[in-house]
Symmetry: D2
Subunit: 278 residues, 4 copies
């Protein structure tokens, strides 16, 4: 008996749950959990089921597609470890949290490598037996530096996600396009407040009473990709912007790890720059 994650994204019409569950019934699949959502405004139907049984994946996909409207998307995924590359710069809190969770067996992931523009984190990463690739940007144009990183990532096969664990360089559209829908970033503010550089300083200067962090997929508009997870903490006048930065790190690592977990468990649908999360 296997488990399968069935992900459906279709235009809504009457009877979809009935039709899909009929297929599950026909193939003798037991539903372990099931979530549906209809966005009335855009008339889109989303469904994620975890089913148990024994079935040919291709056959199941075809059977489900046959009962759905045109232009639907159906995925059937057998849970297994996904391949991820982590990119970081100098800060170790978000990276460290992922490494520890990986070590604890909490993540359905193989960390193929950590890529950084500095060598500061090498000693931490190699402790865990994970390859560390330092690609310095010294003396390189942004494009040349990125190309080196792209080449490095391409030297690994079947990358599922690239996790930016406080990678502090702006990515070009070329990079984003190359790894479309695969890049997860942690932004150190409660987006869309404080887009851009040094959000903690901005937050301090504005005198806010709450700061936060946002994990999102990266698209070509900086800090504007689909949001996966957000979390906040209270601050007060006693906090300097460096204090906010310090306590913000705890939020950043929690939010990034939460978003990564959702991605690894195939719980995220993206549409219209938004996410549906089951």
């Amino acid at each position: 008996m296997n488990h399968y994650r069935v992900l459906i994204d279709a235009n809504d019409e009457k009877g979809l749950v009935h039709k899909v569950s009929s297929i599950f019934y026909k193939y003798d699949l037991n539903i372990l959990s099931n979530s549906e959502f209809v966005d009335k405004e855009s008339n889109k139907f989303f469904m994620r089921s975890v089913v148990e049984g024994a079935v040919n994946k291709k056959e199941l996909i075809d059977a489900i597609e046959s009962v759905l409207p045109e232009k639907s998307s159906v995925k059937v995924i057998e849970p297994k470890k996904k391949n991820i590359i982590i990119m970081a710069t100098k800060e170790l809190h978000a990276l460290g949290d992922i490494l520890i969770r990986h070590e604890a067996g909490e993540l359905e992931a193989n960390i193929l490598a950590v890529v950084s523009n500095y060598d500061k984190l090498e000693s931490l990463v190699t402790k865990f037996g994970i390859p560390y690739v330092s690609v310095s940007h010294d003396g390189l144009t942004r494009e040349a530096h990125e190309q080196e990183i792209i080449d490095c990532i391409h030297s690994y096969e079947d990358i599922d996600y690239i996790v930016l664990a406080k990678y502090m360089r702006i990515l070009t559209p070329t990079f984003v396009e190359t790894f479309k829908d695969k890049i997860i970033n942690i932004h150190h503010s409660f987006l869309p407040a404080f887009i851009g550089a040094n959000p903690y300083k901005q937050a301090y200067e504005r005198g806010v009473k709450i700061i936060g962090a946002t994990a999102h997929f990266v698209n070509n508009n900086l800090d504007e990709g689909p949001i996966i997870a957000q979390e906040v903490i209270h601050v007060s006048h006693v906090d300097s912007w460096r204090d906010m930065q310090r306590s913000g790190r705890d939020v950043e690592k929690v939010v990034l790890s939460r978003a990564l977990k959702l991605a690894l468990e195939d719980r995220i649908f993206v549409y219209e720059n938004k996410t549906v999360i089951f």
Copy 2:
């Protein structure tokens, strides 16, 4: 076109979603929202669907029951205002919050009356044109006092819920039995911590850093009925127990109103002293 809330509670077996959704499809009912949950340990299946269409309720119930295992429960409810009685003693925050929400049209409820063992809240309640019944316990045994209240409540018809908005008298098993599964209470602690009298004082003395409130159905074991909603706030050493009581009130009113809203929208299933909330 009408809306119907369909609530199903059954022993789990393969194909239930398929079977129920087939009935919806057959009766030309459009699913507006749908939630299912299977408790693996007790092998129980719960489903709440909101469907749109035109159907004979009795016929729909029969059709659904015909595809479910024995001993299942099926309810089909057309959304309409439920009848509630509020019981209170002297504090007005929780009661006041319900009155304001009622006035704002937020609650699917008719407040038939507010019953109290004091007359302190009469001036507030009657402002809103709601009957206020003061049943003093002076000189009465607990049983005699409760019987007066039971008689008072029975003078109203079709009571759906009795809301204890800080009613500070212990109810006897007779009362609880009389209004079985209909009594919602707010307890001023994060249950099961600080069961019993003066939980804020207990919390203060224990030196906790968080206090809370719990809305629950009332059964015969005091403070041990099925929990509907809980919320907490942080406190610190500067808070005396009276400070905790003051800030606790804000949590109490939020939690009670949230629980009442869930009940009025038929979102709560109760089993094994726990709740499933969709």
Copy 3:
């Protein structure tokens, strides 16, 4: 024995706590609570003490000023009810929460009147025996309408605060200047995200996972005055922007009431468009 709130705002220099507490000691005042804060960047010192004793206020102020650097500000306030005017439009949740707290005796305030550009809330407000002044903007220029409201407010004496409990008209600089540092607003977003109109719709379209509300003093830059309090709640893809608006109301009322309470208890210092809150 009286209580006095002593509020000091001064340029920082060594020994201020010592000097001020010497004065308290000299005048035989017992310190009940005491908070200080130094903003290193701007070299500003803030102190709020609650002291107990019997003293001539003017004499105490002079004594404290004599030990402080030039250009310091010293206030000595005897706790008493402050006079407030509430302005609202059509929504009753934030207004209602204040009315209930007022009724419960939670607020150190006299509500002199509720002023609105509609008559929708009249029936609620007059239930509580509070004057309701409806100043319709129909057929009036913004300036003429505001002048009517200013005249109305000026018909009351000694106004301490004007509370905008979801007053949905933009105020002109004239109005803001007339009641400088006295206007508290609730903005229905987690500022500075979603400045301007319909923030819930903006939040929905951006696909955020958290929404919030911000209470702030009003200055001439719309939605940019000093922030007093903020709070947030989690939302998800299932929430339409109307759902966000509905659940946002609970946050709005909590935040506005919290800010008002801080103001009434003289706990807020404003400087450089930020607040220090003790």
Copy 4:
């Protein structure tokens, strides 16, 4: 110029702030931050000041003591790394979080060793160059096992704190007495709810909607020592007790690290089984 943390614990009487700040002034010490608290019920005064200057510590202590009532406690501490021993069993999340923070330089601590009753965590700990001492309880009485651990800890000098990062054995009064006021534990529930074994299972069975974790000093009454920090998360009917355990781990590690940081920064006073935290 040095920094000093001055911690005062005294019976309250009029003028204490004045008297202490006079001493600071006399010794030309600049107050960087200052917190006081008076517990009216027990008439206790607590003060924590961070001051800057150059002073003989012994002399400063004597000077402050000379102006305080009898039986006062005064500590003057120069910030430096404290020595800690971590005890763990098999789970690595709480331990891992401390190791990463230590690696990031966030903690004012030297981790002298990790002591465990299993060898499961050895590979993680030694990655960080920290000694790992495995003291198996196999074939030993509780007393004999503990004595081995006590001997092990005593082989290190100047231990400031012993951190129980999910050490799953009950400690005897002998152990607690040996390291009085030095043992910080993380309990995996929102104490005082669910004292004792398997709190997540207890929480699941009670059907709570919120679970939490509590960091506390250990005294002889199991799970009843003074609470330092607590945090909670929301759960629902979909969470099995193993799910609660999994998500509870994130709370546990946050709370324990927060408590440890407070201890390392000398921010905690203990009295009457409660804590004052500045």
